[in-house]
């Protein structure tokens, strides 16, 4: 049963990389039916392909040391997946020594860019897909994985590589994929008479009003980390103007000067002005807000589905929490199944690595294992075809899997889809929207003018 769900999930997420980077993958929407067939075929060939990869990696008998950087710090929900995957790789390939270091998310962005600039990258490095990796690829610093990919093609669907494909060449090994989920504390919702997460926007607003009246803060959002605000704002925009319109804007195919986007931003600001958000949130980090949500301070928390692992590991909190999709605001333009997210977590290999070929094969197999253990831990959905017993996957991740299985379109996170400079201009405006420093019109006009 679990395996079937996983297959359906894979089918759902086939559409993900349709919004590929650069000129690599044309954006389009496929129906999930045909994708399901494709997934099933690939799943059946998994065993054969695993043997092939073992042979390929084992061909290098001489002792080799590889270095890897990632963001799986002690407090990161992916930590266990990395540790388990690396331990399995060490057992399988005793001739390869992997020295790996984990860095905090924000400082890692600085570190890896400095390393790329100085051409001092480790053999294998964690990166975000699309524009982030794209800058490194453009500079010729990333090893092309086209030679090794065919060995893994049956386990890693081609269309999961859209966000790491540039000019038709593959440069990244996706691990997990995630979407933005609406997490709800059902105990608090129960206090105002709700047993399910409201399905329509009108019900949702009525629920927020009821919560407010009861003295419960509806939303927690970390204003100190602007990407957390985008989790809310992008969902509101997507469910107002539709996934295609938002995706076209993110990928630069359309202008920001779109009155409907401006109106959606105003809708988001109404939520802020109505007092649905915790006013303290503007000075808090995401960890603090997440802890407040677990402690029962907020009824809703919109954030990446990687949080499922942390929520599931809290035995006391898990029975209280549910995850759902943000409701549709304008049904003429948007519909359920249009989600924010996609495969972004990626491993890449440095072009400057003296053992680039071995590192590429190693990264491929390591990525598969991280994906496997990450999925079992509930850190996200698998970019690779799931294998083995997945019955232990937590109920929250299973719900996310169902949401993704029914998904129609995925729009990658705005700050990942855009180039670094544009993304930061965008985040600066999002910050101002959350603080009500600019309104919807000023938001779209400012971005239309300032995005380079």
């Amino acid at each position: 049963m679990k395996r079937r769900i996983a297959s359906i999930v894979m089918a759902g997420i086939m559409t993900l990389s349709l919004f590929g980077c650069g000129s690599a993958t044309p954006a389009a929407t496929t129906d999930t039916g045909s994708a399901t067939t494709e997934t099933k075929t690939e799943t059946t060939t998994t065993e054969t392909k695993t043997e092939t990869t073992e042979t390929a990696a084992a061909a290098t008998d001489e002792p080799i040391t590889l270095n890897m950087w990632c963001i799986a710090t002690e407090s990161d929900s992916n930590r266990h997946a990395y540790e388990a995957a690396i331990a399995e790789m060490a057992e399988k390939y005793p001739n390869i020594t992997l020295n790996w270091e984990a860095f905090e998310n924000q400082s890692y962005k600085t570190k890896i860019k400095a390393a790329v600039s100085a051409n001092e990258m480790p053999d294998i490095f964690f990166t975000w897909s699309c524009a982030f990796l794209g800058d490194f690829v453009d500079a010729g610093k990333v090893y092309c994985l086209d030679d090794v990919y065919p060995e893994f093609a049956s386990e890693l669907p081609e269309n999961m590589l859209g966000n790491t494909t540039y000019d038709g060449k593959h440069y990244g090994v996706p691990t997990t994929m995630n979407i933005v989920g609406l997490f709800a504390n059902m105990d608090l919702l129960g206090e105002v008479g709700y047993t399910e997460v409201p399905g329509t926007y009108e019900e949702f607003i009525a629920c927020c009003d009821a919560l407010k009246e009861k003295g419960i803060i509806p939303f927690g959002c970390a204003g100190k980390e602007t990407w957390c605000v985008t989790e809310y704002l992008e969902s509101v925009i997507e469910k107002s103007v539709g996934a295609d319109a938002l995706n076209d804007i993110f990928l630069g195919r359309d202008t920001w000067n779109n009155a409907e986007v401006g109106a959606a931003v105003d809708t988001f600001q109404e939520l802020v002005n109505n007092g649905y958000f915790d006013p303290s949130g503007i000075g808090l980090t995401n960890d603090e807000v997440k802890n407040n949500f677990i402690a029962g301070k907020y009824a809703f928390y919109m954030n990446g589905t990687w949080n499922c692992a942390d929520f599931a590991s809290n035995e006391e909190f898990l029975p209280k929490v549910k995850v759902a999709e943000f409701p549709v605001i304008n049904s003429d333009k948007a519909k359920l199944g249009q989600l924010i997210g996609g495969p972004s977590d990626t491993l890449a290999v440095a072009a400057s690595s003296p053992n680039a070929e071995v590192a590429a094969k190693y990264a491929m197999e390591l990525g598969k294992l991280i994906c496997h253990y990450g999925y079992l831990d509930g850190c996200g959905l698998p970019a690779w075809t799931p294998y083995g017993d997945t019955s232990a996957v937590n109920p929250l991740t299973q719900t996310v899997a169902e949401i993704c299985a029914n998904a129609d379109t995925f729009v990658l996170f705005g700050d990942t889809a855009m180039s670094a400079d544009d993304a930061n201009t965008y985040l600066s405006y999002v910050d101002q929207v959350y603080g009500c420093q600019v309104n919807g019109d000023q938001f779209i006009e400012g971005l239309a003018k300032e995005i380079r």
């Binding site: 600085t110 800058d135 453009d138 204003g223 303290s280 949130g281 000075g283 930061n424 600066s428």
Partner: protein, 304 residues
């Protein structure tokens, strides 16, 4: 003939002396050039390019400098204003506090004074990251001691999201900055105060001067060079400030607490605009030099 010989020998000796001086200076000169001059030169060179740090850059002349002052989204002028506000508080709050403490502790030497000296200097020894985290906890809107205290004294209406409110965020940075470096400047000034000849103090006292008058008319004029150094350190330190801003507010909310160094980091590592980042670093160097010269000139004028 012999005159010529003597002249030649003198000339030869001078050349040898010059050569010896050059050889002895060479290691220092090389270090100076490689550590200070070369990076500045590279920054100036890079500031003329539109470069993302990885690919080939494009020469754009002074466009980055023009954009720095004309592009509103970069907010360089705002960051400069914040640094100058910080400098103002450093010079007019921090330094007088440090001077007061140095004068009081410098009047006599006992175990008690030395203990106070160590206590006031302690924040300088603590890592700024630790201090930042400490103050973050103090400012926390939910469990922070500041809001709790205001609740306890029935001043709940004064409660704020201190680092998240545009009205209080900069002040939230200024307070720990001033607090942290009071001890540093105090120690500089204390060294100066202790250097004042005891005879001068006693002579003034014999003439009927009070302790305050001794400090005002004897000690402070003597330690003026140290005060000048402290002012230069305080102003240039404020212009270069980074760590506490990064930890407490990360330049927010709405970039209202950005300072040139956080802006520089933002440009270099978040926006991949190495050319613009270099431009900001060049501006910072120029501003630090300019302020150091201005302060030196101001003190010199007063000396006259």
């Amino acid at each position: 003939m012999s005159d010529n010989k003597v002249k030649n020998e003198k000339k030869k000796r001078k050349i040898e002396e010059g050569l010896a001086i050059f050889v002895f200076l060479l290691p220092g000169l090389l270090l100076f050039v490689s550590i200070l001059i070369a990076p500045i030169a590279v920054s100036v060179y890079r500031s003329m390019y539109d470069w993302n740090g990885f690919s080939e850059g494009t020469f754009i002349g002074f466009d980055n400098y023009i954009e720095l002052f004309t592009n509103g989204s970069i907010k360089f002028m705002n960051s400069l204003k914040n640094s100058l506000i910080l400098a103002f508080f450093s010079v007019f709050i921090q330094l007088p506090l440090a001077l007061g403490l140095a004068l009081i502790l410098g009047r006599r030497e006992s175990r008690k004074e030395r203990a106070f000296l160590s206590i006031f200097f302690m924040p300088v020894l603590i890592s700024t990251v630790v201090i930042g985290q400490l103050w973050l906890k103090i400012y926390n809107p939910d469990y922070g001691i500041l809001n709790r205290f205001l609740d306890a004294v029935h001043l709940s209406s004064w409660k704020h999201v201190w680092v998240g409110d545009i009205k209080t965020a900069l002040g939230s940075i200024i307070v720990p900055t001033v607090w942290q470096y009071v001890g540093y400047h105090m120690l500089l000034m204390y060294a100066g105060v202790k250097g004042v000849d005891i005879d001068l103090r006693e002579a003034a006292m014999l003439d009927g001067a009070t302790k305050w008058q001794v400090d005002r008319y004897v000690v402070i004029p003597i330690i003026k060079p140290i005060l000048r150094v402290s002012v230069i350190f305080a102003v240039t330190g404020s212009l270069k400030t980074y760590d506490l801003v990064r930890i407490l507010t990360e330049g927010g909310p709405f970039q209202s607490t950005e300072v040139p160094s956080t802006l520089l980091e933002n440009m270099l590592f978040l926006r991949n605009r190495y050319g613009m980042g270099s431009t900001i670093s060049v501006m910072l160097i120029l501003l630090c030099f300019a302020f150091a010269l201005l302060i030196t000139a101001a003190f010199r004028e007063k000396d006259v």
